[in-house]
């Protein structure tokens, strides 16, 4: 080892990670107690606790008060937390961070288009159909539908055989919907347009029309991008 006695912080973090790998622990498995980690790693309680804090922040560990420490779910929650803070800290004159997030969301959906169409053409789509119907009904009452919106994109991503894609879609959905209200971007007026866009995406996908699906995705993100344009001209067309 390069550092036996010193540099406890970083060394302890990697030591705990190595321990997880060496014991072949999986998400949800129990970790040794703090006291046992102190013994096995040869560092103080403070160092162990601070290292555990670091790993909890990354969702590599999970601590349940009074119960114990467990291997975390390795989710993208750290990405969401960091990007949300970035969004509110660096709004920019043109809400640039929020714009970039929306553009990434559109890019993710567009890059998934071929697979979505392939998977959904002629398939069972009751869950997605339900989401769209609820959205349209709520839009008619001038009510927002965040739950249905998120569920729609999640159900879509779940059918692709790539869990990471689904988690990225969900993560940027979370970032978007958390940052937008804090910056005063509401966009309540386009509820009908957005609900209809979801329906168009679904219709295009089940009928196997790739280009129509791509167009529907564009229409889905058009309202929010126009709201951002009203505040400041887009840096790109």
């Amino acid at each position: 080892m390069k550092q036996d006695r010193h540099d406890g912080a970083r060394a302890t973090v990697t030591a705990i990670k190595d321990l997880i790998l060496a014991e072949h622990l999986k998400p949800g498995d129990p970790m040794p107690t703090e006291a046992e980690l102190v013994d096995r790693l040869g560092v103080s309680r403070s160092s162990v606790r601070e290292a555990v804090r670091t790993l909890v922040a990354l969702d590599i560990l999970e601590v349940r008060h009074g119960t114990g420490t467990f291997v975390g779910q390795l989710s993208l929650r750290p990405l969401v937390e960091g990007m949300v803070f970035r969004g509110v800290l660096l709004p920019g004159d043109d809400l640039s961070v929020l714009r970039e997030v929306v553009e990434v969301r559109r890019g993710l959906d567009l890059s998934l288009a071929p697979r979505v169409v392939e998977r959904l053409s002629g398939a069972e789509t009751d869950d997605l159909r339900d989401c769209v119907e609820q959205m349209k009904a709520l839009a008619a009452q001038h009510t927002t539908y965040p739950v249905q919106d998120r569920q729609f994109h999640l159900n879509l991503a779940e059918r692709l055989g790539n869990a990471l894609y689904g988690q990225l879609v969900a993560a940027f959905w979370d970032i978007h919907t958390t940052v937008a209200p804090r910056l005063g971007v509401v966009g309540q007026r386009d509820l009908d347009v957005t609900a209809a866009a979801h329906g168009a995406m679904l219709d295009a996908a089940v009928s196997g029309d790739l280009e129509a699906y791509r167009a529907a995705v564009e229409a889905h993100y058009d309202p929010i991008l126009r709201v951002l344009d009203e505040r400041h001209p887009a840096p790109v067309s």
Copy 2:
């Protein structure tokens, strides 16, 4: 408030975040000292330190020993660290995590294709040309070229007017190149193919040929995906 005296951990984290927002601090700005945070937040030094650890893990804070604490760069480093650990912890029988990462990289590049072609057609591309030439030269000597590879994708993303896209591309490049060696995925035999694919991407972009660019992106990721296929059949075509 539900927790006035207790729950110092989470409360202190948000208190520090609120402090950054209230003072309008930007990345790189100095933070109050630990002692001052103890006074202002009314919690113990241990709590402050653990909260700071959490924020350092998210790159919201940065600590320099003996100097002080500063606002962090809010980068995607936490995403990289988490995904790398996920990649080595959950390799799966089919190296599924690595496959998903590569597929996301391809998706990002494909979704950027229209913009790249628009921006590069007839533009100055000396830096990108240099990268490709160096790659080809190194490939001829059967040498890997990770630096040139990363630089190519970064230079590409930098021209798009969306910093987040560039950081995502760089982050998943880092994840890919960190995880692949640990799982024994080398792919040294396809150095020529990959170098040529970069050249083809550049040629297609400057000539404004969107479809040729898309094809070159596919060719770029084809070698690594074939290597993954050899170990286990792909879950999707």
